[in-house]
């Protein structure tokens, strides 16, 4: 049983770091530009389809991953300059409407190009199969790779934001938008960069998760909802918050879905109550965090 719980804990961490890749872009875009981007899930889908297409045509998984990052970033730059840019000064309702329209356009566009049937994208042979961890847990190597990639990206983002000039501009943009443009920073370029960065992370996460799951139209929307929960828990605009929130949500979700039905079976003789509760668990967690810290775990008080 303890081995099983340890394995489930790893599964939770893995779900968490993939959520982090999604949430990081979402929280940056919201924090710096004040924009609610529902189409973030579409960029995730773009990444997965680009990876599947390139991997199938070149035979190289690595090229597929590179393609996912590039394609999602390009898509991000395109929609930022064509659509999103016009929305910064509008209220959130307009942003939600416009980016919802983008979801529909991306979904139908992808269907026109690739058809309605899921694409094939599978784990490369070098990363396939399980390995035995200390303590005797057999765990898929690919999921361990995902955890490592996610943590690597987190470190990279941390360095980018704290140690580079662009990072300082991003931080400044979050703190005071008017002042940073008054200081001579080309704010529209900065916005495009931040948006493309967020898009690239979403695309990467789409390709990595798509490898494990199925590459199909509409794959981004369920993840988007969880990513929103993550950034609300972590504190909107905070990268550290996104990481903490994502791992917390991943672990709570996975362990909850595993343990609650077992407990409810022991207590009431039926797993149903636990199953119902476990599907609400992350929302209960979000409500609890908001009750105690309305700005989120790492958010700045408004």
């Amino acid at each position: 049983m303890s081995l099983l719980i340890a394995e489930q804990f790893l599964n939770g961490i893995q779900l968490g770091v993939m959520l982090f890749l999604m949430a990081a872009g979402l929280t940056l875009v919201f924090g710096v530009m004040g924009l609610i981007n529902l189409a973030h899930g579409s960029l995730y889908m773009v990444g997965a389809f680009a990876a599947a297409f390139v991997a199938a045509n070149t035979g190289s998984y690595l090229l597929g991953i590179v393609a996912s990052v590039v394609a999602a970033a390009v898509a991000g730059v395109l929609i930022e300059t064509l659509v999103i840019r016009r929305l910064y000064k509008r209220d959130h309702l307009d942003q939600v409407l416009a980016t919802f329209a983008l979801i529909l356009i991306f979904s139908e566009g992808t269907r026109m190009i690739f058809g309605s049937f899921p694409l094939y994208l599978s784990i490369p042979d070098a990363l396939g199969g399980p390995i035995t961890l200390p303590g005797g847990i057999e765990y898929p190597l690919f999921r361990l790779t995902l955890i490592a990639m996610g943590l690597l990206v987190a470190v990279g983002l941390y360095l980018l934001i704290t140690k580079t000039r662009v990072g300082m501009q991003i931080q400044a943009g979050e703190a005071d938008r008017e002042m940073i443009s008054a200081l001579g920073v080309d704010i529209s370029k900065l916005y495009t960069f931040v948006f493309a960065l967020g898009a690239a992370l979403a695309g990467l996460s789409g390709a990595l998760v798509g490898t494990l799951q199925s590459v199909e139209v509409g794959m981004g929307e369920p993840v988007l909802i969880m990513a929103f929960v993550v950034i609300v828990i972590g504190g909107i605009g905070s990268i550290q918050g996104a990481l903490v929130g994502a791992v917390l949500v991943g672990v709570v979700q996975t362990l909850g879905a595993f343990l609650l039905p077992i407990w409810s079976k022991m207590l009431f003789g039926s797993p149903d109550a636990g199953a119902v509760l476990s599907s609400m668990l992350i929302y209960i967690l979000m409500a609890g965090v908001l009750l105690i810290r309305p700005q989120g775990l790492m958010g700045q008080a408004a």
């Binding site: 979904s107 049937f117 599978s122 199969g129 799951q213 199909e216």
Partner: protein, 382 residues
Amino acid sequence: MKITTLLASVAAAGLIGTAALAEGHEKVKVGMISTLSGGGAGLGIDVRDGFLLAIEQSGRQDIEVIVEDDQRKPDVAVRIADRMIQSEDVDVLTGLIFSNLAMAVVPSAVAQGKFYLSPNAGPSALAGRGCHPNYFNVSWQNDVIHEAAGAQANTLGYQNTFMLAPNYPAGIDAMNGFKRTFSGTPSNEILTKLGQTDYASEIAQIRASGADSVFFFLPGGMGISFLKQYADSGVDIPLIGPAFSFDQTILPAVGDAALGVNNTAQWSPDLDNPTNVAFVQSFQEKYGRLPSMYASQGFDTANLLISALEKAPVSDTDAFRAALREADFSSTRGAFRFNTNQHPIQDVYVREVIKDGDVFTNRLIGTALTDHADAYAAECNM
């Protein structure tokens, strides 16, 4: 004066009405509500394409098919059904893929006097007490395919099976169907969220369970995710399941991960009867891909409709219903007849996933159940 004009026009309208009837070939309007976008789209598209292929092959110009996408959302399906019934005045409805949507649409549609021909969903609630003279199921009652899987598990000598299905009407039917015929004891019964795509947690439980086999029902993208993750996990407990997780719509996306798995269905692409051979060939010529079982069900549904229309106009409700009941059409699955609850009595086969050249597909390896009727027919009082 005005009243007489009004009366005259009413009389004239009446005449036109009878003239159209007398012609014998009144136009028939079919409303098809199917899942054409999102995760389950592959299924709906195959049902639609199979259905339209049969209409085209019949050469009949008097059947008009209106196709709408339900997005796998019950509220959208209900809205489309209301519009089709009230303002577009369709005669026959068909097309729904998912049982939860069928439960939302079918009872009210048949209560309003429309016919519903189900090309896919067969929830138990509509087969037993909830059966209706205007509801015909042309595919299967949900449990049946899983009952076949249970029977096959017995044949293979499985004793304790780990069971996995999503938590929605068809998932519950799947669990019940499998357990009805399975003579061993399930080691675990896990209901997952509908639409879940990460099965790491369930696979960890399978690894720890000590079961000798895994039965799973995960249609569409859920099945793709599960199979890929299962193959990569290194767990080598044999899998068994209904054809929904091993169908032509998902095999190309799963790849090697499904090879050799036994799965049960009322149809297979290599089923050897003239109707099926012609169907598989013409479907491939028209659409450039192998048909799935969903496509065969859409094809059969349209042919049932056409066979009934040959005998009676849809406006003569009782005669049309009697003609449907006769099921006088040649089905892609061979023998086909309706039970008292207007669900099929048919054979259910065992198939095995193979790689034929570059193409992943299924081949027949045996028959799990012969002339099989569902378990709910006795509860139906019609």
